[in-house]
Symmetry: C2
Subunit: 187 residues, 2 copies
DNA sequence: CCGCCTCCTCTACAGCTGTAGTGGACTCTA
DNA sequence: TAGAGTCCACTACAGCTGTAGAGGAGGCGG
């Protein structure tokens, strides 16, 4: 499978961003991570901002591919199932897609200063919150919109803490926290 | 009040970090923000990492000065008082000390790659979580330690969302979210 | 008055960065 | 086969960065 050159570069960019931060996020560093000759990244994405936007786009694509299967469930969701789904999602953020998680935080902070990035990020964030809302609706929660937004933000906090903070909670703690949040939301 | 030169620089560094991110966090940029001649920052903090550590130290100092008055309350805390305290804290993070909040996230992410920074950050984080634990203990919550950790992380998520994410929650939503979290913790 | 010491500013410099442009290899069209 | 077009690797270059060090201003002890 020879992936598209741009996709290959965007994937490498996610890795670079997670490993080196915004400071080390340079055209040449991405070239290295992608195993391409110097100049490749700069050819496909002339400016650093274009590279960021492309990286974000690729992240959104991967996020959706990963989370897509989840809301395909039918029927009414109970607290236990909901907890399972959310806990599994968090675990994936922390392991399989840890790099993408870190890269997302980097880009979020950067979007504070870059309108072009901010617009894309909000778009993607809206899609994620919509999923949260959808899940809560399926479980019959009141005010699913507000609750969904809150829930997503709180979960993000737990993930951030695990990935860039103290990381003092084990899997059982995370599960308990999710269950409490969801129980509040369903009340 | 002529503050110590190092303190002046560290304060400027917080501003620079919040405004320009890790990438724009350079000796010369801090010189400019501090209104000092070029070379000053580089003289007091020879390496960039030393500057980061000093910045973090100053942030911890300011955080403590700000939060210090809070736990001075006596007596048993009720859910309402607790909610008031926490909501007020969040509001301060988002307004008065917004820059410091952003700088903290920048440094948290950076600490992922810098052991020297990580050590200091964990130290400060421990102090903050101790405050959370203390508050919950005063309110008679079971498992205040675990609950405190979770609470702090969740609050951080709400703050991050407001400051660098969608920011779709208004003050009433934040208050409601806090109340729910605290109610869960007290149960 | 002299010499010393501290605090600071200024300058030097090698290395890296973003971005643009040149030119070659390869592929398709006729 | 000739020509045009596309994709890509490489190079150029000005600007910025981290860090080190030289040197000067001003105060202090004698």
């Amino acid at each position: 499978m020879t992936t598209d050159r741009r996709t290959l570069i965007a994937d490498a960019a996610i890795t670079t961003l997670a490993a080196e931060g915004m400071r080390g996020f340079t055209h040449r560093a991405v070239d290295r991570d992608a195993g391409l000759p110097e100049g490749s990244t700069s050819y496909y994405f002339r400016t650093r901002e274009a590279l960021m936007v492309a990286t974000l786009g690729r992240m959104a694509e991967l996020d959706m591919a990963e989370a897509g299967p989840v809301p395909a469930l039918g029927g009414v969701l109970g607290l236990d199932e909901l907890t399972d789904i959310v806990t599994a999602l968090i675990q994936r953020f922390l392991t399989t897609s840890r790099a993408r998680t870190l890269a997302r935080y980097e880009l979020s902070l950067e979007s504070t200063r870059r309108p072009a990035l901010r617009a894309r990020l909000l778009e993607h964030g809206a899609a994620i919150r919509a999923m949260g809302e959808h899940l809560l609706t399926a479980a019959g929660a009141p005010e699913p919109r507000r609750r969904g937004h809150t829930l997503v933000a709180q979960i993000d906090g737990l993930v951030f803490d695990q990935v860039a903070g103290a990381g003092s909670l084990d899997e059982a703690d995370l599960r308990a926290a999710c269950r409490d949040m969801l129980a509040s939301a369903l009340r």
